[in-house]
């Protein structure tokens, strides 16, 4: 098979839920108004001087009776997001079209429902140390939980997998789904990412001194860390036989590894460069064809510096870029899918996101970094997602002319 025949694929439906609100309208409105969704951390019993991107309404979301065994914050967030923008209805229509054995599920997550285990550890039997009987490891904590949950929500019987490569997870699901669509093992794929607030990530990023005490400031000279967020985003991928004008297409994907360090990026962004090059090659595009880059842009000093060097090594100095994590927080394993949806909105609606929280750009970083939203007519946009363990993924989306 010629690897260049794998794409394009049609994003026939998509949706995202973040701290900006439930669904696409809230996401677009927040980004276009540069209204961020970060707030001081009041999550659960967490006592840390940091800001977070918490999604409203997760606790109030209930699961159907038949799926109660999946009940946890992560799957409540997944269901809240699936129900927005008519996404679930469009999936059901696709299932009617293709059959439940021909629609695959590919979900990225870093921590799934680990919060459920963290809470269960407070309720251990004082005599035996046992976890409570009502704690369901498989359907909440295990990394497969959100993928299996989505499979069961729609009654699917096809290929299903979770991808868990930390903060690149839900970018890499687009690549995994594209491969199966190319092989013809499936006719449609639900791809997405779900990650929710938990103590492991909040205290973990704090232990690495990677959380900011303020709302994060991507690419700012004074940036000092991330704001942890939560989110869920999904897309329905199908083969693009005759895409309509204005349709959003997955045009390319590139994956690579840093082979450098568990929690620090390669300082020159070598792995990031490989991923972006591979995505361009698969898309059959030149760097100059890219109208906008949605940066990984976590707002840690090292990450933004390395990504900036990687972009400089490949792209013209004029290429517009920004990070949207100042608005949404870093949604970790959901970030790839959230930012893929932001790219889709940008292509569909004709605007480029401006950074939120960035006050004074770091003069050492030589990017055409957007601190204000722009009206534009982008044809091709690239999204970067990088994770612990040196996992890199770049996606390219295009608007059908």
């Amino acid at each position: 098979m010629d690897g260049n025949n794998v794409t394009p694929l049609l994003l026939s439906a998509f949706t995202a839920t973040t701290c900006l609100g439930t669904g696409l309208a809230a996401l677009a409105a927040g980004l276009r108004a540069q209204h961020g969704g970060l707030q001081p951390c009041l999550f659960e019993t967490v006592a840390l001087p940091t800001w977070i991107g918490e999604v409203a309404g997760v606790d109030e979301q209930s699961l159907p009776a038949a799926l109660q065994h999946y009940d946890c914050r992560n799957n409540r967030l997944a269901l809240l997001a699936l129900q927005a923008d008519g996404f679930a209805e469009q999936v059901r229509a696709a299932v009617d079209r293709y059959g439940c054995e021909r629609v695959g599920v590919f979900i990225g997550t870093s921590t799934a429902g680990i919060l459920q285990t963290e809470l269960a550890y407070r309720r251990r039997d004082p005599a035996t140390g046992a976890l409570p009987d009502d704690f369901d490891y498989r359907h909440t904590h295990n990394s497969f939980s959100p993928a299996e949950f989505v499979r069961d929500v729609f009654g699917l019987e096809s290929i299903t997998m979770a991808v868990s490569t930390a903060c690149s997870s839900s970018a890499k699901v687009f690549a995994a789904a594209a491969r199966q669509l190319a092989l013809g093992t499936i006719d449609a794929a639900i791809v997405g990412g779900v990650d929710s607030l938990c103590l492991t990530t909040l205290y973990g990023f704090s232990s690495l001194q990677l959380t900011s005490t303020q709302p994060c400031r991507p690419f700012d000279g004074e940036r000092d860390g991330i704001s942890v967020g939560e989110g869920a985003a999904f897309a329905l991928l199908e083969r693009a036989v005759t895409p309509a004008a204005g349709a959003v297409l997955l045009r390319g994907f590139g994956e690579s590894s840093d082979a450098y360090h568990m929690s620090s990026p390669h300082p020159e962004g070598l792995g990031a460069q490989l991923a972006m090059r591979a995505a361009l090659a698969r898309a059959g595009l030149q760097a100059a064809d890219i109208d906008y880059i949605n940066l990984h842009g976590t707002a840690t000093p090292a990450n933004d510096a390395a990504e900036s060097k990687a972009v400089n090594a490949l792209f013209p100095a004029t290429t517009a870029c920004s990070s949207t994590k100042g608005a949404t927080g870093h949604t970790l394993g959901a970030a790839g899918a959230v930012e893929a949806v932001i790219c889709a909105l940008s292509l569909q609606q004709g605007w480029l996101p401006g950074s939120v929280g960035t006050v004074a750009l770091d003069p050492a970083l030589q990017l055409n970094y957007l601190t204000k939203p722009q009206t534009a007519a982008p044809r091709h946009v690239l999204s970067n997602s990088f994770g612990f363990g040196g996992s890199n993924c770049s996606l390219i989306f295009s608007r059908q002319s």
Partner: protein, 277 residues
């Protein structure tokens, strides 16, 4: 039900190398002897070699799951004579869970008053920690996929690995591995020990090819192993759902076999050995 993987492009590969570790089966040659019936399986704790390829500091601190994954990958690469090219191999890791001991330690500490967890514990908590250390040990900057599908993890990993072979026409090192949780999580997920396998998969036959496999799906039940101890391992460790395939390879037995995947989908493999494994 043979429809779901009725792919337009055949899902196939040549197996060029095998790595294996399980309780009582410390490497592929010893597992092969047991699977051929030349030796009886004797239960014993899994033996995890030191992660020699890691820098000294990381080697000393390498967890059980990291030792497992690295030993599996390097054994398979050595048999495929890909040792020199290990940095050029793309990888697919398939694991039901992350490092269970590390997870327990974090959850225990986060349930108490002193929540200032260790940064190393945190970065080792990610599902792709073993894959990250593989990158450092192998020097491979190639794509690295990390898949989880609970008990179906091996099947999901094989499906993506064969997808990569077909789409990108490059060899893939598939490393399927699982590890145990300590109490109290062990009661909820009773994986007995560290175990797994690695396969170097190539898109076309080469001088080191051992067998060809072709994948489709079925609704038929998986092939059980005759040995009760091995059958218990197959059912207890997600990665070892692949044991019927390894038995066919060890015995150089051509034909069809069924592996457990994700109900109602099962994997049907046509195995065609070409030389002794």
């Amino acid at each position: 039900m043979n429809t779901s993987l009725s792919a337009a492009v055949p899902l196939q590969a040549w197996i060029d190398g095998i790595g294996f570790i399980a309780p009582g089966l410390p490497d592929w040659p010893q597992a092969r002897a047991v699977l051929r019936g030349e030796q009886a399986w004797q239960p014993a704790p899994s033996i995890l070699p030191a992660a020699q390829a890691l820098p000294a500091a990381e080697r000393r601190r390498a967890s059980r799951v990291v030792k497992l994954a690295l030993a599996l990958g390097f054994e398979a690469a050595a048999q495929a004579q890909a040792q020199a090219d290990v940095a050029s191999l793309r990888t697919v890791f398939a694991a039901s869970g992350a490092d269970g001991h590390n997870c327990h330690a974090l959850c225990e500490q986060l349930a108490g008053d002193d929540r200032l967890i260790s940064p190393t514990r945190f970065h080792n908590s990610v599902h792709n920690a073993a894959a990250g250390y593989w990158g450092i040990a192998s020097g491979s900057m190639q794509p690295c996929q990390v898949i989880a599908a609970y008990d179906a993890s091996f099947g999901a990993g094989l499906i993506d690995a064969l997808g990569q072979l077909a789409v990108d026409d490059e060899p893939v090192l598939l490393i399927a591995h699982d590890s145990e949780y300590p109490a109290p999580l062990h009661a909820k997920r009773p994986t007995p020990d560290c175990a797994g396998l690695a396969l170097v998969l190539s898109p076309r036959p080469g001088p080191h090819s051992l067998a060809a496999i072709t994948l489709s799906t079925t609704g038929a039940p998986a092939l059980a192993l005759a040995d009760k101890g091995l059958e218990a391992l197959r059912q207890a460790v997600p990665a070892l759902r692949a044991l019927p395939l390894l038995a066919a390879l060890a015995q150089q037995q051509a034909g069809e076999l069924v592996l457990d995947y994700l109900p109602p989908l099962q994997l049907q493999l046509v195995v065609r050995p070409v030389r002794p494994c």
